[in-house]
Symmetry: C2
Subunit: 417 residues, 2 copies
């Protein structure tokens, strides 16, 4: 039986590993070639496990789009028939070392970023970011969406691969540390990080391209998308969070993820099983013509950022974000200050200038969440609840507190407390 | 005779023009081809007029370097002989619509950025930024310094020119507005602005280069220098400040500049004459091995940033800068708050998220400076006082209050108050 002192030590061990992890962006590769356990008939998705029947609109839309993208279905009807005929296996990204924003669908042919935590050796993966508007990750699958995905896969990905392999891997933790000093929080605001990413890649892209027009096109695509670096950052956070998973006795939350229906968490000392509860609907700012009535419940693996100590936890670094997710700069400051209440450590490498360079609140302690009744904060995009539409806003959300209460009960049971 | 109400209105007119100015970066050209009044035997320099006899070490060093660069002298001794023989005319950058950081030496062959204020039609110019370490603007003139200048002039400048002319001019005010939301203050911290600059130029550079190696080299040079955009930003500020100059009756300061010996100001309603006083020595952080005893007094035209409402005036936007110039994030916040006391307006286009998106304090009112005894704040690099050495630190400084008192007396005399 663990004492409080034991648990504290185990949590420090878990968070220490999370902070010591050094995620390096090594290359871009075809998902089927690098993601363990990704089978040809399988689609990965965000959040905890879910069946087709319980999938929300945007996840269904992304599944349909991915099946058309893979050439397994010609259209929506054929894709649905394939799924209903049992021809498609679904598996959470998180079961394969991967993460994807929003619907988070990764299909075998898709290009993915490959991140290695050079300290502990674990790998993490994420797909490529499509930019704004109608995009697969928000459940859109029109021809323009699929054309863009094909261009990304066939034209951009090989160039990115060559560029990333033309020199040292990119140190994503260092990039994040710099971006947090430039007004990013690393989840919904990745403007500075994406510029740093483009800056690092641009000379390599020119050198490897052998085709000025394509190099310019890729730079423009990456440069005009202030979320370009979100997916590598998510993979970096996954690599860091995974390093903290599996510490016997630790109450540190090592995964938070949503599939659009359920919010799921995993806890370092509780093995690979999920605890889930219905996902809440975010509160935020909507694009013209949309309102909360159109919003899908919270969706995506991007909560891996908060799990690793950035995103909503680092809001104090990103006062400009409030014009996008709602609230005031003081709210942003308060969000970070509140998260110190439920976390184990202040990050050694990721700091917030406006808080006198204090480290970001890192490593959610299940016990504190329940004792204080403070659920983790999450920044997020908001998807339309129907498939095929896309992003309709951005805002703030929290997982249900009951989820953490159940997790603490499971912990008590597991450890005989 | 002007009443207080008249002066207030004239100041609003001046600041209104400063804020309405829209500086566009149009191209890069040879200084002699575009800068009005720049004669072949002339060198432009930072700050108010000064003779060789009174020049400080770093300005002398830059003069020597520029004469070697121009091919007019083979070495230091020859350069000094040329100057002492009366073969070199010196003229302030500001007399020619130009600005240069630190020594601010612009020679006829040098490539310069060309900025046009599209609202009022005035042009402004600045040289290209050399990066860190041993550089001409800090008074260094060793072979490596001159080699870099030659590469910048012969290899980079033509590519920059072609890239800038390959599409719309770059909107520098929009770039600055974005950079202030990303932790820059636009003077000593231009990390985000420089990344935005590289992002905007990169696809153009590839397209126009016809030479992948050179394009990559230029991108790396611009991308690795977090001050790349300082010089275009200074030219933008010059274009904005000049738009506010010459408003009859206005007490708005339209120029602040230092030559390393004197700090000079000009006032909108007081014509083109300078008021000068001895420049103070900055307080700040020194590179290892250097101290305040090595520091040259305040030098450079880069105070045009504060004149236009950014730099030290926008410190609240840039909490991370304190690790470079000294102080705490709270000091940075206080610096901006104090500058509201002596300025006429809050900038309509340049805002600070952490202050609830309040506009930066813009348009120094001579009267308020004197009434309140608050001199403008200036962020600055620190040059070694001997020629040939370079930068030794960065810090904070204020012009002497007596300068503003004398300017107010001159104003009273001029307007019969």
């Amino acid at each position: 039986m663990s004492t409080k002192r034991d648990i504290d030590a185990q949590n420090r061990e878990a968070v220490g590993r999370m902070m010591a992890a050094r995620p390096l962006l090594k290359t871009v590769a075809k998902a089927a070639d690098v993601i363990p356990g990704l089978e040809p008939h399988m689609l990965l998705h965000a959040g905890p496990p879910i069946t087709w029947e319980r999938m929300s609109g945007p996840l269904r839309g992304a599944v349909i789009g991915a099946l058309i993208f893979e050439g397994r279905a010609a259209d929506e009807a054929a894709a649905i028939a394939l799924v209903e005929g049992g021809e498609v296996a679904f598996s959470p990204c998180h079961h394969h070392g991967a993460v994807g924003p929003m619907a988070g669908v990764i299909s075998p042919s898709m290009a993915v970023y490959v991140v290695e935590n050079e300290v502990h050796g674990n790998l993490a993966f994420s797909n490529l970011n499509e930019g704004y508007g109608k995009v697969l990750r928000y459940g859109a699958y029109s021809p323009e969406v699929l054309d863009r995905l094909r261009w990304m896969n066939d034209a951009m990905a090989p160039l990115l691969r060559a560029a990333l392999e033309d020199g040292e891997p990119l140190d994503l933790r260092a990039l994040l540390a710099e971006a947090l000093h430039m007004g990013d929080e690393g989840h919904n605001r990745n403007k500075a990080g994406s510029l740093l990413f483009v800056k690092l890649l641009a000379p390599r892209l020119v050198r490897v391209a052998g085709n000025a027009a394509l190099a310019a096109e890729v730079m423009t695509f990456l440069g005009d998308n202030a979320l370009s670096v979100l997916n590598p950052v998510m993979a970096a956070c996954k690599a860091m969070a995974d390093a903290a998973h599996g510490i016997e006795g630790s109450t540190v939350v090592s995964t938070m993820a949503r599939n659009g229906t359920d919010f799921g968490i995993r806890v370092s000392g509780l093995g690979d099983g999920w605890l889930t509860a219905p996902a809440a609907t975010p509160e935020g700012l909507y694009f013209p013509g949309f309102s909360g009535a159109d919003a899908n419940p919270d969706i995506g693996d991007s909560t891996i950022t908060e799990t690793a100590g950035i995103g909503a936890f680092a809001m104090a670094a990103a006062p400009a974000i409030v014009s996008f997710v709602s609230g005031t700069p003081q709210d942003a400051m308060n969000a970070t200050l509140e998260m110190y209440e439920i976390t184990v450590a202040e990050h050694q490498h990721l700091t917030i200038p406006a808080l006198d360079f204090r480290g970001t609140p890192t490593g959610i302690d299940l016990r504190r969440v329940v004792e204080l009744g403070i659920a983790p904060r999450v920044n997020t995009g908001i998807a339309h609840k129907e498939p095929g539409i896309g992003q309709i806003g951005a805002g703030l959300v929290r997982p249900p507190l009951a989820l953490f209460e159940r997790a603490l009960l499971a912990y008590a049971e597991r450890y005989g407390l």
